[in-house]
Symmetry: C2
Subunit: 510 residues, 2 copies
């Protein structure tokens, strides 16, 4: 009855195992590999990646997909098997459209562009990077044309990371958010003196930071028998199965934030991966539904929970006990305000919860312009700086701290930045839905028991893996399309209180 | 001109990269993988192993081997390319002879037999394990028949681990060695009171043990920019390329030997792998020539150098400084004698340099008997105990400490044990050749500079990888076939001095 489906699953399992093996190699590369190992590791990862890709896009996969689709056509659309065939077909169609030679060409370009970008950033030499950015844009356009789109090229790129989402939808959400966000940022910028975060810049023993971070991840429900926390230059989460999900962080001995909040952030990603439904294990559905939904979880656990007053009501006494020299004379309120300090700044990766999205919107708007030709590469720095001034009220002193700051465009990734802001927005829309269903959540968090929240997320989001597209999932879970209202209300209430802002600021909640 | 050879190399590179990727997964499995990861890891490793094997034994490989052989037929036999084709053909022929279904069947049997063996050892229940051992013997015979042999089945199994070596050759070497070894062991056993190793059983801080072991590995020339030392339950060495060679050890807080000497042991393996010729990198020649030759290096650096008086003349003051509480009142001679204590004991893995080989010979003789049918599985324990009594003067109180002690036979590995003793024997034959060529080596070792020894080994052994068979290599390096004379002379001189033995003991050197 399901003979073809079984054959399809067998074939996909080989590809899955190759891809996950490649992830193990990548994890090792960033954690424990000695420097000498990099050349051979590149070869090993390239071989595995190529085999996985070739096996997936081979004609045999397409034939199995067709015959298997026939077998599952009477199953409910949300069943594991029907979803598997549907999502696999989607991936297959997408990957078949990009010829292997183009992928290889883009990979080579990316490697070269990365080197040029690193030098250009070091020397503040945008003109040196500009021709490579131009080429990256060309490749992005080419990929968009090959993938196809109805409305505009950016749709095709966005669809890689956020299946089914459209540029117009994102643009509308961002426009609405921006309307309230810019006045909020400016209002806070005028009250910089309200928050002092110097208490976070003291000596924090690394081993104690690590133990405290692990304790907090455990408190969130991250399962260390099915995961681990290691050190890397750039924190990340990666998974080899739902039962082997690794996270990493980095420690600064004289600043509390980087290790702790990146641990919570990666824990959020990890919770998602550890709790994908067991029935999906070993299939290509065993992943988060999209980058945006993944980011909604890292942001929810990092910010919405991890920077909330309630959470620290519970945890702060323990933190004081862990670091008595630094914190014994610092009260909860001072600490809470410090970890929530907002300050317009030049560099995205150092941006706070409020200003972060404006960094993203700037990039979104520029990518749209680059792609449709309305913005030339030569005008890049000027537009960047104008937008920084208009959104955040500051102008980069040089391009290294401006348009050259991110690695993404060197790799040829366009359409990716957007998912960061979608994650922020979704974190609150989902959190509000959770609270509506389980009003006891905030109180439980302030008692150190975020279990109800995690279980609700597991039930409503995590367990489904990639079975549904983001728009469908959000509608199912929250009863409405993606909206920025919840997020904006959260920002206004939380930071209005911290910065003592006038209640008369326009509020979309009223 | 070498178009076919290039195609062959390309194909072999894919297989090589898959195999090395599998090794990374295996390393992670034993070092950092959380317990939950084991099921998926098994799947990933199985997929990679199967793809590598299928690609290698496919008909296309055979065709490329034939046409490439034509291209290299005028090259010198010792050239990289001619060696590659020859060794690849050998591996190909060997692996083609064992059907994939048989391999799968043996793997399943091994997994089951392992469980049964573990339970049987725990409960001292040999009869429970006996049928599985019988089946293992059956598989070993079947493999031997499929591989083919001229003289006896054991030849075929030995050839897997020691290409070109024959059972008769090993038997003759072992017989000669045994003649002198048994009297030596008995003479030492009567003088147990001459050596006291209680100084080694004190408190040794684990972090300090680790730092000291790393320092010693570095002193040997192990390159930590191309390797690392981690912790595992069972120490091992594994390599992903000559530039990424990992070793592991385990620490006991109240016994100095296990971590330190296993670190030196694995460092010996690591030195071999790190110094395989660069031109062989990425090919199937980039490995030690055989298990015996590999073991000759672990044993040379662990024992011949690492347990020598000269080495500790240099290193002991540093060890005393590292562990002043344990060692400040212990003189060099006491320490040197302690780390060289000889004591007939029941368990192979805990055996010392002198008695170790008798454990191996016992297993070699029993494997021969099992294979040719002259020894029945039912008689196993009795023969084991008789040999223990005759060789080592002790009889196991039960089978758990006797015939059930090793994991090897549960996995169906016969022919493997032999390589341990070949390694011991070769370690001295090679060391003597090194000293003959570079008489300054012992003095340099006692000054903490074993560089000349390592470079001589690199030049004469390591760099050749798998280009030559063991017999050929040993003849090239030492000017004679494998012999146990050097090894026996070393044992008599070293332990004769330590235990104050009568010089009139028969010596093969005179």
């Amino acid at each position: 009855m399901t003979a073809q489906l079984d054959l399809l699953k067998e074939r996909l399992a080989v590809i899955h195992n190759l891809n996950r093996a490649g992830s193990v190699l990548g994890w090792d590369q960033q954690t424990y590999m000695p420097p000498g190992g990099s050349h051979a590791r590149g070869e090993q990862m390239a071989t595995i990646g190529r085999l996985a890709h070739e096996t997936f896009v081979a004609g045999e996969t397409g034939e199995l997909l067709q015959t298997a689709a026939e077998e599952v056509k009477d199953l409910p659309a949300g069943s594991d098997d029907a979803s598997l065939v549907r999502v696999a077909q989607r991936d297959y169609d997408q990957q078949r459209k990009i010829p292997a030679e183009l992928v290889a060409e883009m990979t080579r370009h990316g490697a070269e562009a990365f080197q040029v970008w690193a030098r250009a950033r070091e020397r503040n030499d945008y003109p040196a990077f500009a021709p490579y950015l131009q080429k990256t844009i060309g490749y992005s356009r080419q990929v968009a044309e090959l993938l196809g789109y109805e409305d505009q090229p950016y749709d095709a790129l966005l669809d890689i990371f956020e299946p089914g989402m459209k540029t117009a939808q994102v643009a509308a959400i961002f426009e609405e958010l921006k309307k309230d966000l810019i006045p909020l940022v400016h209002a806070i910028a005028e009250r910089q003196d309200r928050v002092d975060d110097s208490v976070l810049h003291q000596e924090f023993d690394e081993a104690k930071q690590e133990a405290f971070g692990k304790m907090a991840a455990g408190l969130y429900g991250y399962d260390f028998t099915r995961g681990r926390l290691d050190r890397t230059v750039h924190p990340f989460e990666t998974s080899f199965s739902r039962n082997d999900v690794r996270i990493t962080t980095r420690y600064e001995p004289d600043f509390f934030n980087p290790a702790f909040f990146s641990t919570l952030h990666e824990t959020g990603h990890g919770l998602y991966e550890q709790n994908v439904g067991e029935s999906l294990e070993g299939s290509l559905l065993a992943r988060g539904a999209s980058l945006g939904l993944h980011e909604s979880q890292s942001r929810m656990w990092e910010n919405v929970v991890g920077r909330s007053r309630g959470f620290w009501q519970y945890l702060y006494p323990q933190l004081q006990q862990t670091f008595p020299e630094a914190l014994k004379d610092v009260d909860l309120d001072t600490f809470y305000r410090a970890i929530n300090k907002v300050e317009p700044s030049l560099v995205r990766v150092e941006a706070d919860e409020v200003t972060y999205n404006l960094h993203i919107m700037l990039r979104f708007e520029m990518e749209l312009g680059f792609l449709d030709g309305s913005l030339s590469v030569d005008d890049g720095p000027e537009i960047w700086n104008q937008k920084m001034q208009s959104y955040l009220g500051i102008t980069p002193p040089n391009d290294s701290l401006g348009i050259l700051q991110d690695v993404h465009w060197s790799h040829g990734l366009m359409g990716y930045f957007t998912t960061y802001s979608l994650g922020n927005i979704l974190s609150l829309q989902l959190y509000d839905a959770a609270i509506k269903a389980r009003p006891e959540i905030p109180q439980q968090i302030s008692q150190g028991r975020p279990d109800t929240l995690r279980c609700w997320l597991e039930e409503n989001l995590y367990r489904h893996g990639r079975k549904f597209e983001p728009n469908e999932l959000v509608q199912r879970i929250t009863g409405e399309p993606i909206q920025s209202r919840s997020y904006m209300r959260y920002l206004k209430e939380k930071f209005g209180e911290i910065y003592g802002l006038d209640k008369s600021l326009p509020s979309p909640t009223q």
